[in-house]
């Protein structure tokens, strides 16, 4: 379980990093926390000729709350979010999500940008940020562009990132005081990969309601707007597991019985959590 030989290049300048990506013809990969990529390289499931270490890029560490938008730099670690080192613009939701990611050792190094770029269906940020309505901010050789996460996510382990692009960070709408959120993760034990994730965000100030199912076999699934809106208006009471299972079917997804059941339970419990106390 040792990786094959690879070149490691440390980049201190964002422009340089993007150029380096272009130079290697797509055979280089960016490494930040390395919490998913490095184990895969050790198992030789991933064999990279070269890695570009971006941990020194200050542009990717920026965190700011302006005009109702929270910007979280891609290099922000799960631990920093867990520890409340970024402004709380989501009424505690991001802190709650970060706290449940893997184990502290992973959270110390793993980054929010890496999690979204890696797009493991069992990852937390792809589902949580999608529920929050986040937008990815991307830098490439042609400059900066933005893309809503709903479009950025393509499938399992696949995002709309070009070979010469780097995620700068995410722009997340600030939640109003009346907003509600629920997040429920099913996993065999704390820190384990998720078997299902339900995430709900409701913000009446923006007439925003989004219910997302994560840890499926593909990208996170946004349940129908009608379902989310109904929950926003009438509460959690009717959204029991059978209702949640029906909503999954209505959204066009189908899973085997056990998976449908735990996905239904995760959604139902996320919704109940949003309305609890």
């Amino acid at each position: 379980m040792k990786p094959a030989k690879f070149e490691l290049e440390s980049s201190t300048d964002l422009g340089e990093a993007v150029t380096a990506l272009g130079r290697t013809d797509g055979f280089a990969k960016i490494v930040a926390g390395g919490q998913s990529l490095v184990p895969m390289m050790n198992l030789r499931l991933a064999q990279q000729d070269s890695l570009i270490d971006i941990r020194a890029l200050h542009d990717l560490k920026r965190v700011a709350l302006d005009n109702g938008q929270l910007f979280v730099g891609a290099l922000t670690t799960h631990a920093a979010i867990e520890d409340g080192k970024i402004p709380d613009a989501t009424n505690g939701m991001m802190q709650h999500v970060a706290h449940q990611i893997a184990y502290r050792a992973v959270r110390n190094r793993g980054t929010i940008g890496g999690s979204v770029a890696h797009a493991d269906p069992a990852g937390d940020w792809p589902t949580a940020l999608l529920a929050l309505g986040a937008v990815a901010v991307i830098r490439g050789s042609g400059g900066e562009r933005t893309m809503p996460l709903a479009d950025f996510q393509i499938g399992a382990f696949t995002v709309a990132l070009e070979p010469e692009e780097v995620i700068l960070g995410f722009s997340i709408p600030e939640l109003s005081a009346d907003a509600r959120w629920g997040y429920y993760k099913v996993c065999r034990k704390p820190g384990e990969f998720a078997d299902s994730i339900g995430a709900l965000v409701i913000d009446p100030a923006r007439s925003y309601a989004r219910l997302v199912l994560g840890a499926t076999d593909g990208k996170p699934l946004i349940l129908s707007a009608a379902t989310a809106d109904k929950i926003a208006s009438s509460g959690a009471d009717e959204f029991d597991i059978p209702a949640a299972r029906a909503a999954i079917t209505e959204a066009g997804a189908s899973f085997e019985e056990y998976e449908t059941q735990i996905h239904g339970a995760a959604l139902s419990r996320a919704v109940k959590g949003a309305f609890a106390a």
Binding site: K5, P190, G191, F193
Partner: protein, 781 residues
């Protein structure tokens, strides 16, 4: 009881180095000129090897079966009649029989370079149909693992009993099928060795992460064609074994062969993926049980068919038949069952070999027996712990020989059940169940009871057909010139705390401060021969031998001491590390000084063996000791997700005299934690082509601190009448009952749903499937 002797909870001496990160494991060792090995392994469960293509220019670093000149395949036959032997090659030559079997070995300056080389090797295979499931393997149309056998049965045994009367008198008949999943053993340190050839001693010196250095020496000498004097095995610190490190593996033969061929130390460290895919597995049993019982729950007869999936090859030295032999012999457990019949099948399959794991066979046995007991109780509407007590061998029946000819010497199993029932508070749990939980979870209560035969002696191993039978265990003790003590034992401590507990035994006899003692173990060059550490035998056997050797030393010290004190030998006693006479005392350091440095002061008729003694020991009778225990747990089951939380877990155990109660408690806790792993989490599943589906910890689920409850533990003490100090073996016991009692608790929780589960691990997926099956059945009715 002295503050340091038998019965004291003396803090473990070895923990100072472990807790400061100063242990010395094989992985820590760097020898001059050392090379590392990586292996090309079979990607197929069953295939013919048609060609091996070595990378050009690097052929001298790449070795296939034909290159291992003089290395014999490992053969570990059983002496039992009808047994079919198999050869386990160091590198597969013509055929591979499981995914992960070693095919080619590659040498590199580092492990990464050895793995680079392995990646360049191309092996051509012709796929063959695999045998994956043990029950399918029994069918006549099944493919064959070893063609020359004609079937896949390594051994079939039959313990006959007459069931007619039980069947006639029975008010109820319960038939159940039970299945234990195949799992890995997952010690923190996987397998590891460095082999080097030492020209000065003309020896192969093997630094080996093993529980049984002397048995490894036997095996290496035999299969490498060396004389025994040419092999020395040294076990440094070993990070857990659990049975995994009791046998010789193919990689080890290859490393030893290459070390001699190249004259350079060869290192192989098994990584976690190799461990999960290719290393020996454990626990995979199938039981078909029919129990006959009266309407008050008394079991009249027990009819069992046991199938063991032993994997592709018999392993050296304990063979692939030990599991079935132990299962057949131990199914009656602590119960007084009048009629018993058992048929066992040891099946081969295209999976890694199955080897004994902590609680050998008895976790499966307890799962089958104790879940049958609860099925009887449920059928009759009785409390399971009361049905247990009703069927148990009573203390007034001791000594008692059961229907499977197991001889229990002492103890009170019913009392252990009663105490466990009191600790867990059965009435309160039943009230809580009735009230229901606010969160909708279902509460369940389960018990598991067992006897733990351990320190099995010569006669028992001989009856299992194992060729490597333990005899008299020896220990050596030696007073140093400054009054300290060296204790030499052939067993090996890899978590048991023997560097402390053996000092406690010696302290009880000699009174020397354990701080002035050293326990030397795990080195064939320095210790008496021993079959090693397994079967919870070390303290009974080597502890007994240490005690006896110390007594010989005590007699000799008394004689020297009396001479120095100018008094009669009969008037002195050994206490607090001194020889004490009527008019004075001499410390052990004086005895040491006189023997080694000033022998002119010795009595003229001194025993010339001096202040060093080696003595052997075997309990009489040698059928093994029987510890016993009852565990009970309360669980909460989430019916929507199928998840289980262990809310409370109590242990009542009796292992006779406890040398160190803290170490005994630690063994109970660790064992129960492993048992919870078997019950709820651990599984090495295979697909129908024999491909392993759990190759990393992402798929192979281990319990962690958050899944393990705070165990509550009470000890009972019934010393063995047959052993030194009344000690009974107990190291494995904790693992035995957890699958049964967690299973019983889950079935208790599910009672209202009509669902029942009889298969480990009891995963959320299996619980949901059982609930769905029960609700579909109800709907159909």
């Amino acid at each position: 009881m002295s503050e340091w002797g038998i019965g004291a909870s003396l803090p473990r001496k070895e923990d100072h180095r472990f807790l400061h990160g100063r242990g010395n494991y094989v992985g820590d060792m760097r020898l001059s000129g050392m090379k590392e090995l990586a292996f090309v392994r079979s990607p197929y469960a069953h295939a013919r090897i048609t060609a091996v293509h070595k990378p050009e220019g690097k052929e001298h670093l790449v070795f296939a079966a034909a290159d291992l000149v003089g290395v014999k395949p490992m053969r570990a036959p059983s002496n039992l009649p009808g047994y079919k032997a198999s050869d386990f090659p160091a590198l597969a030559g013509e055929r591979t029989r499981f995914v992960g079997e070693t095919v080619v070995a590659c040498i590199g300056d580092t492990r990464a370079e050895a793995e680079d080389l392995a990646q360049e090797v191309i092996v051509d295979y012709e796929e063959l149909a695999p045998v994956v499931d043990m029950l399918e393997a029994r069918k006549p149309e099944s493919p064959l693992v070893h063609e020359q056998w004609g079937d896949n049965i390594a051994l079939e045994t039959f313990l006959d009993g007459d069931m007619t009367e039980a069947a006639e008198k029975a008010a109820i008949t319960i038939t159940r099928e039970f299945r234990m999943a195949r799992q890995a053993m997952v010690p923190m340190e996987a397998r590891a060795l460095i082999a080097e050839w030492d020209n000065r001693s003309d020896q192969l010196i093997v630094h080996h992460s093993t529980q049984v250095p002397h048995l490894i020496r036997n095996g290496l000498a035999e299969f490498l064609g060396l004389e025994q004097r040419q092999v020395r095995v040294i076990a440094p610190d070993v990070g857990g074994g659990f049975g995994l490190k009791t046998y010789v593996e193919p990689e080890e033969l290859v490393a030893c062969f290459l070390a001699r061929k190249f004259g350079k130390p060869m290192k192989w460290i098994e990584d976690r993926r190799e461990h999960l895919i290719a290393d020996a597995n454990c626990r995979e049993h199938h039981y078909l049980i029919t129990a006959y019982a009266t309407d008050d729950g008394k079991i009249l007869g027990f009819d069992a068919e046991v199938t063991v999936d032993a994997g592709a090859y018999s392993i050296y030295p304990f063979t692939n038949c030990l599991e079935a032999a132990m299962a057949g012999g131990n199914l009656p457990g602590p119960y007084d069952i009048p009629a018993y019949r058992a048929r066992t099948f040891t099946m081969v399959s295209n999976k890694p070999p199955l080897v004994p794991y902590r609680g050998v066979a008895r976790a499966g046995v307890c799962f089958a027996t104790d879940m049958t007991i609860d099925a009887v109780a449920r059928e009759l509407g009785l409390e399971p712990h009361e049905v247990r007590i009703r069927n148990m061998v009573k203390p007034e029946q001791m000594p008692y020989t059961n229907v499977a000819k197991k001889s229990f010497e002492s103890g009170d199993s019913p009392a252990a059940v009663r105490r466990a029932a009191g600790m867990i508070d059965v009435a309160a749990v039943r009230a809580r169940q009735k009230a229901g939980e606010p969160d909708g979870r279902l509460i369940g209560l389960g018990f598991g009871s067992y006897t733990e035969q351990s320190a099995h002696g010569t006669s028992v191993f001989a009856s299992w057909g194992v060729q490597m039978t333990p005899g008299f265990e020896q220990a050596g003790v030696k007073l140093t010139p400054d009054g300290g003590l060296e204790i030499r034992i052939g067993v090996q401590s890899h978590g048991q705390g023997m560097e402390t507990t053996f000092c406690q035994v010696a302290n009880t006899v000699l009174g020397i401060d354990p701080a002035k003692m050293t326990v030397i173990h795990g080195d064939t060059g320095q210790t008496p021969y021993s079959t090693g550490t397994y079967a919870s035998r070390s303290m009974v056997m080597a502890g007994g031998a240490t005690s006896r050797a110390c007594r010989i030393l005590a007699e000799r010290m008394a004689k020297i001491g009396a001479h120095l004190l100018q008094c009669d030998e009969a008037d002195v006693e050994i206490r607090d590390g001194k020889v004490i006479g009527p008019g004075g005392e001499v410390p052990m350091s004086e005895i040491g000084r006189v023997w080694y440095l000033n022998p002119e002061e010795l009595p003229s008729d001194v025993e010339m063996g001096g202040v060093e003694a080696v003595e052997g020991y075997r309990p009489d009778p040698d059928h093994g000791t029987f510890s016993y225990s009852t565990h009970a747990a309360v669980i909460a089951l989430d019916p929507d997700l199928g998840t289980v939380e262990v809310l409370d877990y109590v242990v009542v155990e009796d292992c006779g005299t406890m040398v160190n109660p803290m170490v005994v408690s630690g063994q109970c806790f660790g064992g129960a934690a492993q048992g919870i792993g078997t019950a709820l989490f651990e599984e090495s599943p295979y697909d129908d082509q024999g491909q392993p589906l759990a190759s990393t910890f992402a798929d192979y689920m281990m319990p962690g601190p958050t899944e393990i409850p705070n165990f509550r533990l009470e000890h009972m003490i019934t010393p063995s009448p047959h052993t030194e100090h009344g000690i009974k073996g107990m190291g494995e016991g904790g693992t035995i009952p957890a699958p049964a009692l967690i299973g019983n608790a889950i079935n208790d929780a599910l009672r209202a749903t009509g669902a029942e589960i009889n298969q480990t691990p009891i995963s959320p997926r299996r619980i949901r499937a059982a609930i769905m099956a029960a609700s579909n059945k109800e709907a159909a009715e």
